[in-house]
């Protein structure tokens, strides 16, 4: 790693954004234009720095007390990602918020939040990391309360506030333990010390568990996921930034501390079990949601669960790819959520099509799993050694199975099926290329894929794969069945799922009891 004062220049974007947040401005629109310049400065420095990493490897700033910059491959990807999404969101907000009495305040809060996330990503020092972590959460809290007279906004922000403070505590404790153990707050020094120690002490295992806990809380994982389905009480660009820029902080935390987590099997198991369960749970709930933004929020919970599942499997590069791809997808999905009516107007039913036969699909799933087993074994993997690889590969292929099955309805046509097959092959090829590319890019930055072979991991993987297989079959049978054809248990199951298994209502009741809003009801 190169130590260079030039690394400080990566601060240009965050500093410019902080200046926008603090300096006076004559008109809201002028301030918004300034925020756009600041965001673009961040984006340009991100691109230049990423180029430097690609050409000359990671670099870092000289360590000052509590402050330093670490710019490795992980930083490069995340910094570029958040600067890019941030720039789009800032640009979007300029016209979107025009005429709002709080437009200037909004621009300032948005700039401050974005600056905090960028500083978090740049942190080479755990104290700075913790400070930026807390600052992001506090700034976001102000954005969530942008319309502070909305009772639902307050309730959601309070739930988020409570979850965040528990997460802060976990992170602070973990950092304290690591400081004790390694004698330094610098990431580089801390990781070197860990490596030198070899086996993990109970304290380090605990620290890993605390990091995993903080990541789960930040990523809106079960059972503290409720707040994220309720923060549509604030303007759309905040949702876009939250779902595409800030929610990633949990994943980033896990990736940044990956060398520590690898030493802590319970931490990995925690990520695997909670992430895997949340991915399954939230993606089923998502199917039943009727409002576009709420549905997108459940999708985010599921996607973050999947990403943490990848972390739990030690598929670090895959998790990073997931973060990047999900961010870009979700930023667009939120900003374009007003277009859903256009989509609906174009979504007429072309023919009395039908769902594929459930048995045929079950066969397809079995074939897919068999194919994965054969292909995997032939290429030198053994299920007992690399269950993670198989789990992720099986989920990919089940997704493709679902896609292909969708194209075969009651009146199958060669055109549609062929078109679907071509698209499916392209998707699969793209998926493998991207996974391989990201793994190559992150070689040396993130630990190589770990082999999870402990009993908890094996059982969890088996259950998760079975769950996804059941879901694939369910989506082709009772979920798409028409009214009266739905079995009685599925009719009841739908009601429970649509309610998110009532977890959030219980959480609301608890929060209201502990911390009442004291505000009048709507209208």
């Amino acid at each position: 790693m190169t130590i260079t004062p030039l690394a400080w220049s990566a601060l240009a974007g965050p500093i410019a954004l902080l200046a926008v947040a603090l300096l006076p401005a004559a008109r809201p629109k002028a301030l918004a234009a300034r925020a756009r310049i600041a965001a673009v400065i961040g984006l340009i420095t991100a691109a230049l720095a990423a180029g430097a990493v690609a050409l000359a490897g990671p670099f870092a700033s000289p360590a000052l007390p509590g402050v330093s910059i670490l710019f490795d491959g992980l930083t490069a990807v995340m910094f570029l990602l958040v600067s890019f999404v941030g720039t789009i969101v800032v640009q979007f907000s300029r016209n979107y918020m025009a005429g709002d009495p709080g437009h200037a305040r909004f621009t300032r809060l948005l700039s401050a939040t974005l600056a905090s996330v960028l500083l978090l990503i740049l942190s080479g020092n755990m104290a700075m990391f913790l400070a930026a972590w807390v600052a992001t959460s506090l700034a976001l809290n102000q954005l969530l309360l942008f319309y502070s007279d909305r009772p639902a906004a307050i309730l959601a922000a309070r739930k988020k506030f409570i979850a965040s403070r528990i997460g802060d505590l976990a992170l602070a404790l973990a950092i304290g333990i690591l400081w004790q153990a390694s004698g330094t707050l610098e990431f580089a020094g801390m990781f070197a010390a860990l490596k030198a120690q070899g086996a993990a002490s109970p304290a380090l295992v605990l620290a890993g568990g605390l990091i995993a806990l903080a990541a789960l809380l930040k990523s809106a994982q079960f059972p503290l996921h409720g707040w994220i389905t309720e923060v549509m009480e604030t303007p759309t660009p905040v949702s876009a930034l939250l779902h595409a820029g800030i929610i990633n902080a949990g994943g980033f935390l896990a990736l940044r501390f990956a060398p520590l987590l690898e030493l802590s099997t319970p931490a990995m198991d925690l990520l695997l079990v909670v992430g895997g369960f949340t991915a399954l749970f939230a993606s089923v709930v998502m199917l039943t949601q009727n409002a576009i933004k709420v549905s997108l929020a459940w999708s985010t919970i599921a996607q973050m669960g999947f990403m943490l599942l990848q972390c739990g499997l030690g598929a670090w590069a895959a998790a990073l790819l997931h973060i990047v791809a999900h961010s870009l997808y979700k930023a667009h999905a939120f900003l374009s959520s007003g277009s859903v009516i256009d989509i609906a107007r174009a979504s007429w039913s072309p023919s009395p099509g039908g769902a594929p036969h459930p048995a045929r699909l079950a066969m397809a799933v079995a074939l897919v799993l068999a194919a994965v087993g054969v292909a995997g074994t032939l290429s030198g993997f053994a299920i007992a050694v690399q269950p993670g690889v198989f789990a992720l590969g099986a989920i990919l292929l089940m997704g493709l199975t679902h896609y292909i099955a969708q194209s075969i309805d009651q009146r199958p046509t060669g055109f549609v099926i062929a078109r679907t097959m071509v698209a499916a092959v392209a998707v699969a090829a793209g998926w493998f290329a991207l996974q391989a590319g990201m793994a190559a890019l992150m070689a040396g930055t993130l630990p190589a894929e770990a082999a999870r072979t402990d009993a908890v991991a094996l059982i969890a993987v088996a259950i998760i794969v079975a769950g996804f297989a059941a879901l694939t079959i369910g989506q082709a049978s009772f979920i798409t069945a028409k009214g009266a054809d739905t079995p009685a248990w599925a009719r009841a199951f739908y009601v429970h799922v649509q309610n998110g298994l009532y977890v959030n209502t219980l959480a609301n009741r608890l929060v209201l009891a502990l911390w009442p809003t004291g505000l009048p009801s709507r209208r």
Binding site: P151, M232, N290, A302, L328, Y329, H332, Q406, L434, Q435
Partner: protein
């Protein structure tokens, strides 16, 4: 009472009650449901008068009823009138006139000075109690629990009912639809409530058991609840209305479904079933509390509710009487301005002169009566000296169902008061049957492939693969969407068609049978429609060489309310198809021969052009250019030049209200960019500002800058034998204009209640409407951004002023013959004025057929 648990409902036993004679409760239910105005879905969003259900009572009495029953205001808050007074917009003379217009028994100040003093005082905190004030159980519980650590019961109940309705009525958002939705709402709700533990999770005890104990018949359930909670008979209508008002958005959507079925004569009981759901919720809350405190509070409320209201006399609400005087004064002030403009002295200098020219007119151009057309027509008249513009409802007299390629049914392109009389299919111009079949087949296949892709994107399992494989592709898409280079999603009208085909799409007029339905128009239908349309436009002679028939539509991106900016007369669709059909038929040689025998001679060198006015960009596109006879090609080229100049002029005028980044820069480019900006919440102002409807020959208003605030209907009563056209104008376009006007009025005076709230919080639900934020009731009306520019209101809250040039007797006869019209004018929902033979406004309509000379 209801203590034992009834068996779970097994089937929709919602058979109509055996007794055919409506009792008082049935009447109360019917009246309460009738008070809800319908809400059209976003796919074809049209303006609705939110006070439609109150047309049987006056504007003032409705304001009183709504304050008493729903506790909402229907007028601006006092500071608005105070500012108008301070700014000199309202003067003492206006106040004096308003006092004079007030009903004799109203509790109003004796003179202007007292009125001004009354306005300066803040109104008393709105009476939460008082005679005939209606409270709901949830409201009483909320009041009792002030400071209590309980969530607002009202908000929770509204959220829960709204979420259930979203699942039940979902038009395609969720991949997994509610399996129970095959049954009627009441039966489906009862079935889901067998399983649903959410209310109990929130602490509402025994919710499932209480619901299961209610009768399977919704009316019987309502009856049981009304009796159990002890609503006095005299207050039943108000209570039931209040109950529906709490979930007013969903009630309005269901009212639309009922309305739509009603147009086709199909019975629909779903609004009553929704009412039963809402009542059951109240009942479950009622059963929670048996303590003395609640019982006493509830008994007191019921005692108040039992007293008889006096909404018409305003005796219980003197504050409202004051506000009504100032609303009237505010409207009088605007009327005075408008009357001044209309009463221009022909000899005096005009804002701009329209030079008269002898001989044949160089152009006739018909536009929709929409207020946005007024600006364009004025510009076009300036550019084309001697050219004539005509105002007519933008569906050009053709109530059609327009079926796009590949589909079996389509949208109704006509005012929502009508049902389509013709079915027209879309076709590819100049394509032989083989090519048509190919285009059709390809679109169907692409649609099926797209469905599979959408399922891949959104299913529970494959969404993870989708994100990892395709997420990165959204990086370039984010950039190009942000720069306005691409559309967020493809245009629904042309989705699945090749670019080469898109330019050739058009309506098919020739009668053919498609899917068992007769489409197109036969010779007789064409002739009778053509004649009716020309007579209704008062366009029966002096045809120019080119007659432009311009429908209108809008171009916006990422806007869930986009169809609300399209043509209301075309049922929330663009007017393209209707204008093209109207033009096509008038160019049909057989039709022209037929018209001659009916006394309308269209010269052989006259050609009708179907066109569309894009109200966001003010571009006009002419269709079917290839059919223009060669002799007229040069004329069309000249017309293109005129239209370019008129469009530029119109954009310049509109730009003043658009808050452009560079007001002195390239306005055309900025207006165009706005129409593609996915972040733009005010792409255009729609019909904001509307305040007048004028039915008269255009020369009465030509040359007057009406500021894009008037509906202009061309009408020459001297050509109207038997006043059939007058009847049509007063019963259809005038009513629709009043709907639009009152929609804007409601969204302006109380956006929380009758508007759609803040656009930046909009959350499209069920692909049919919007929520504000993550939950709450469905929103109706217009977003705040559609009436307010951030600094000031762009729409002034004014009731529509209708000016008609016709004999008083003829208008009185129409009023007396039509209940709808009579209620509108007699109950002061619009102001009606008569224009005399000299072109001056001569009379103001009072009521009961009486006119007051000015």
């Amino acid at each position: 009472m209801m203590t034992e648990t009834a068996p779970a409902p097994t089937s929709s036993a919602a058979a109509p009650p055996a007794a055919p004679l409506p009792g008082p409760l049935d009447m109360a239910i019917a009246t309460a449901c009738q008070r809800i105005a319908p809400l059209w879905p976003l796919k074809h969003f049209v303006a609705v008068n939110p006070y439609l259900g109150f047309s049987g009572q006056s504007f003032a009495a409705t304001a009183a009823t709504l304050r008493r029953v729903a506790k909402v205001d229907m007028l601006m808050a006092r500071p608005f009138y105070r500012e108008a007074l301070a700014a000199g917009i309202i003067t003492d003379a206006h106040i004096a006139q308003a006092l004079a217009r007030a009903p004799a028994n109203a509790p109003i100040p004796a003179d202007v000075a007292l009125a001004r003093a009354a306005l300066a005082r803040d109104p008393a905190e709105r009476a939460r109690s008082g005679p005939a004030v209606v409270a709901t159980i949830a409201e009483v519980l909320d009041k009792l629990s002030a400071g209590d650590r309980q969530a607002s019961r009202t908000a929770f109940m509204v959220d829960e009912i709204s979420r259930w309705c979203a699942a039940y009525f979902d038009e395609g958002q969720a991949s997994w639809q509610m399996p129970q939705r095959g049954a009627g709402p009441w039966a489906a709700w009862r079935e889901t409530m067998v399983h649903d533990r959410n209310a109990e999770a929130m602490g509402i005890k025994d919710f499932r058991r209480i619901v299961a104990g209610l009768p399977a018949d919704p009316v019987a359930a309502i009856g049981l609840i009304v009796e159990a909670i002890g609503i006095p008979t005299s207050a039943q209508t108000d209570y039931l209305h209040r109950a529906l008002f709490d979930i007013g958005g969903w009630a309005a959507y269901v009212r639309y479904l009922v309305w739509d079925n009603g147009l086709y004569g199909r019975p629909d009981n779903r609004l009553v079933e929704l009412l039963a759901i809402r009542m059951a919720w109240g009942y479950a809350l009622f059963r929670q509390r048996t303590d003395a405190q609640f019982q006493a509070a509830w008994a007191a409320e019921m005692q108040q509710a039992a007293q008889l209201p006096d909404d018409a006399g305003l005796s219980a609400d003197p504050d409202l009487a004051i506000d009504l005087v100032f609303q009237e004064a505010y409207e009088i002030a605007w009327q005075a301005q408008l009357l001044g403009k209309l009463a221009r002295d022909e000899a005096a200098a005009q804002p701009f002169a329209i030079p008269a020219r002898r001989g044949r007119k160089p152009l006739q151009a018909a536009f929709c009566i929409d207020v946005r057309s007024e600006v364009y027509r004025r510009a076009l008249e300036q550019v084309v000296p001697g050219g004539e513009t005509i105002g007519f409802a933008g569906f050009f007299g053709y109530p059609i169902e327009y079926v796009p390629i590949g589909r079996t049914s389509g949208g109704a392109h006509c005012p929502v008061l009508l049902t389509p009389a013709f079915t027209i299919t879309e076709m590819v111009n100049g394509a032989d049957p083989a090519l048509e079949t190919e285009v059709l087949g390809l679109r169907l296949l692409r649609r099926r492939a797209a469905k599979a892709w959408k399922s891949f994107k959104q299913s529970a399992v494959s969404s993870f693969t989708y994100v990892e494989a395709l997420g990165l592709a959204f990086a370039p898409k984010l950039v190009s969407d942000a720069l306005g280079l691409t559309r967020t999603v493809s245009d629904p009208n042309t989705d699945g068609l090749d670019a080469a085909v898109i330019g050739k799409l058009g309506p098919r007029l020739d009668p053919v049978t498609v899917g068992g339905r007769m489409t197109g128009l036969n010779a007789d239908q064409r002739l009778s429609q053509a004649e009716a349309v020309l007579r209704a436009m008062s366009l029966t002679s002096d045809f120019a060489r080119l007659v432009l028939l311009a429908g209108h539509g809008s171009t916006t991106a990422n806007n869930p309310h986009a169809s609300g900016l399209d043509c209301g007369a075309c049922g929330g669709h663009t007017g393209e198809a209707n204008a093209r059909i109207a033009a096509d038929i008038l160019n049909d040689p057989a039709v022209r021969i037929g018209l001659r025998s009916r006394g309308i001679h269209i010269p052989d060198d006259c050609w009708f052009l179907g066109a569309m006015h894009d109200t966001t960009t003010d571009q006009i596109s002419i269709f079917d250019r290839d059919r223009v006879p060669p002799a007229l090609r040069a004329d069309v080229a000249e017309l293109d030049g005129w239209l370019d100049r008129a469009s530029a002029l119109t954009r310049r005028e509109r730009a003043r209200l658009l808050d452009l980044d560079a007001p002195d820069g390239d306005i055309d480019a900025q207006v165009l960019r706005r129409s593609r900006d996915w972040a733009q919440v005010r792409p255009e102002w729609g019909l904001a500002g509307n305040g007048a409807f004028i039915a008269a020959p255009r020369h009465r208003t030509a040359g007057i800058d009406l500021g894009g605030r008037s509906f202009l209907h061309s009408y020459d009563w001297t050509q109207d034998n038997g006043f059939g056209v007058l009847t049509l104008i007063m019963t259809a376009p005038m009513v629709v204009a009043s709907w639009i006007n009152l929609q804007y009025y409601g969204s302006t005076v109380n956006n929380k209640v009758w508007g759609a709230g803040n656009k930046v919080l909009h959350n499209v639900v069920g692909t049919l409407g919007v929520l504000e934020g993550n939950a709450g009731d469905l929103k109706t009306g217009l977003a705040w951004q559609s009436v307010h520019d951030g600094e000031k209101l762009l729409h002034e809250p004014l009731r529509l002023n209708v000016f008609i040039e016709a004999p008083l007797d003829a208008m009185t006869a129409v009023i007396m013959a039509s209940q709808t019209v009579r209620e509108l004018v007699d109950h002061q929902w619009i102001h009606l004025w008569a224009i005399g033979d000299d072109g001056q406004v001569s009379h103001r309509y009072h009521r009961d057929g009486e006119w007051t000379a000015l």
